[in-house]
Amino acid sequence: MPSLLAQSESLFANLDSVLFVGLPYAAIVLFLYATIRRYVSSKFGYSSLSSQFLENKKLFYASAPWHFGIIALFFGHLIGFLIPREILWWNSVPARLYVIELSALIFAILALVGLVNALHRRATSSRIRVVTSKMDVVILILLLIQVVDGIWIALFHRWGSSWFAGIMAPYLWSLFKFSPDISAVKEMPFAIKLHVVGAFVILGVFPFTRLVHMLVLPLSYMWRRPQQVIWNRDRRTTKS
């Protein structure tokens, strides 16, 4: 009969593989399937669902800091994932490490301020409450947990930009190569584990929330001609 201790240990081992292998794959599959399905079957629902028309002032202090913060953080994580070695090289000089860490913290605080303002706005403005869906609340709370946890990690598990390159990037790459290696992640402190799990939960619920708006980011405006003329007769050609 295995001891109680061993039993609980194997439970934790299983839990780790559920959280760091099962959940990520489930989230990625769900994300891909549901996002594409939603785009094909109900394009009308792809919208940023702006509520600026109903409330303008508070939105500025919510949406602007939130987006500038979160987009910078998103690219920060992406770069850490794509070029971990270069990041480690950069961080080898302490001054440069501090620059990265400090700017990441500033963006995180911007994001936090924006999120808190967005939640406050949704709770207090009666017009905004009318256009707030259940999923809006769910996603705002998930994002809030994620951002607070991220700031916690930045403050108490220092120099994330370095250990991310050493631990998280290899783990994420191992997922993408279909040979998951969780030996390093499972030794991480709780806050970091929560951050990983949170990220995949957000990815999984992504297609069922307003977050799909980031996929229709209108970049083509930068090179398109100002006027658009569409012909019905002959061909549907676009001329300027």
């Binding site: 669902l49 028309f53 209108p218 549907r236």
Partner: protein
């Protein structure tokens, strides 16, 4: 020369009685859904007045339309450099408070209130939140309030007028107003189209109608800020913008748009204009004092063989060209030159033109009794005594050019003097003819203007070209391919995203 056709419009303001039938017929068809309550694709304003949304003509506030920078045209509200940083919060987006909060009344309370000492009342409740509300504004809140110090005096078009003239407008014997019905102008250089980051807005090649693709709109709300006429509206419920579609499903089946069809004053005319698409940019960038004539110049003569050849080259049929030749809009704008575009200084090249109203001349008081001793033929010489300053009219319809406004009003007045000489006979015919010539017109032209103004039949007012929808893509492409994009309508419920 790139000859294109535009379904264009003329509104004859002397005939508008301000009944708002146009607004209601449009609302019943297109904007009776949640999120569209405040949208008035057609609205009728009282001028002088503040309009809808409040002071929409104040582009220092709303930043609509284009401006000339160096040698090119730039949108006032956005640019390729600014649109992304501003996408999270548009700095020039009007809010519901610039329009009004739509409301209804709790009528059920009139029936269901428990017995009590007082009469039950139907309280006003917001159609957005459902909560009781104080009504502070509405879609035509300053209806008929000419001379009001709150509304009329704050009309943006009074800018630049001497203080004394502005004060006089509030004097009782000078009280004056006219109605200004507005729809989307289906512009040749639409700011709404040029501003949309997603490219959801477009102009139809065949007829020039400007539309928003509801499946491509992502609520970046750029068009709402960019349209200087504030004729695109944001649906706060679906998260999509919507605008006047010139009732294209009606036009395609040979019917006039609902607001045209229902117009009680019969002020509306609709027909084709041909224009040279190659020159739009050049004309839109002309200086203020040249742009009105410039736009008139851009419009092509549908009888000119070269224009006809160009039209055919762009796929227009003989029948279509014949409709352009019969267009009442062409006559008003180009032949008679008595219809002018609203606020061309916004440089969107609006294709809705207005015949300005002949406002009454100043009356006088005799022993405190109001009298107007001006003889009909003298009115012609008394433009400077019109109750409403000529500069004001010019600020709306001719980019401040008083001579253009005078030319138009003189011609309209001359037609009246001539018809009066003919039918009433209290003016000498010789005087009438002299008046006609002084107004740069002839007996034949005056007769034609009179007929088109006073006696036109339905089919003379609306010369709706055959748009041959049956010959559009669906006819020779596999319909199944287009089932969800064109021709078979919108197969998806317009439901707000999650």
């Amino acid at each position: 020369m790139d000859v294109r056709a535009q379904v264009s419009m003329v509104f004859h303001l002397d005939k508008c009685i301000g009944c708002h039938t146009c607004s209601i017929s449009c609302k019943n068809i297109w904007t009776d859904r949640r999120g569209t309550e405040y949208m008035w694709f057609n609205n009728v304003e009282t001028k002088p007045g503040t309009g809808y949304p409040t002071q929409w003509e104040n582009q220092d506030k709303y930043k609509g339309g284009w401006e000339v920078k160096g040698s090119s045209l730039k949108l006032k509200s956005t640019s390729k450099a600014k649109y992304l940083p501003n996408i999270f919060h548009h700095p020039h987006m009007p809010t519901m408070d610039d329009y009004y909060e739509p409301w209804t009344y709790r009528y059920d309370n009139l029936f269901n209130a428990p017995a009590g000492d007082d009469q039950p009342i139907a309280r006003a409740v917001s159609m957005v939140t459902g909560e009781p509300m104080e009504i502070k504004a509405g879609p035509n809140w300053d209806d008929d309030l000419g001379g009001s110090p709150i509304y009329a005096s704050n009309d943006v078009n009074l800018k630049g007028l001497p203080e004394e003239t502005r004060q006089q407008l509030n004097a009782l014997e000078r009280l004056v107003f006219f109605y200004f019905p507005r729809i989307c102008n289906h512009c040749l250089n639409p700011a709404c189209v040029a501003s949309c980051p997603s490219g959801a807005l477009y102009k139809r090649g065949e007829d020039g109608i400007v539309l928003i693709n509801q499946k491509v709109c992502r609520a970046w709300r750029s068009c709402v800020a960019a349209c200087p006429y504030k004729k695109t509206y944001f649906n706060w419920s679906t998260g999509k913008s919507e605008k006047c579609l010139l009732c294209y499903p009606r036009l395609e089946t040979g019917q006039a748009p609902a607001c045209f069809h229902s117009c009680v004053g019969r002020i509306r005319y609709l027909g084709l204009l041909f224009y040279d698409a190659d020159r739009i940019k050049e004309v839109a960038a002309l200086p203020d004092d040249k742009i009105v004539e410039g736009q008139r110049d851009l419009i092509l003569d549908p009888f000119d063989p070269e224009v006809i050849a160009g039209a055919k080259k762009n796929g227009m049929s003989d029948e279509f060209i014949e409709y352009a030749q019969r267009s009442p809009v062409y006559k008003f704008v180009k032949v008679w030159k008595i219809a002018l575009p609203p606020h061309l200084e916004y440089r969107t090249m609006p294709m809705l033109f207005y015949v300005p109203p002949l406002l009454p001349v100043l009356g006088s008081t005799d022993n405190n009794i109001y009298s107007n001793k001006t003889k009909p033929e003298d009115v012609f010489h008394k433009f400077d005594e019109m109750r409403i300053p000529m500069e004001y009219m010019a600020n709306i319809f001719s980019v401040g050019k008083v001579d253009l406004m005078k030319y138009t009003l003189k011609k309209l007045m001359a037609v009246r003097v001539f018809k009066r000489a003919q039918t009433v006979g209290d003016i000498e015919m010789a005087t009438a003819l002299e008046t006609l010539h002084a107004a740069d017109t002839t007996e034949e032209e005056a007769e034609a203007i009179y007929r088109m103004t006073s006696l036109p039949t339905f089919s003379q007012r609306f010369v709706i070209p055959p748009l041959h929808r049956e010959m559009a893509v669906e006819a020779y492409k596999d319909p199944a391919d287009f089932k969800k994009s064109v021709g078979f309508g919108f197969t998806e419920a317009p439901k707000r995203g999650l």
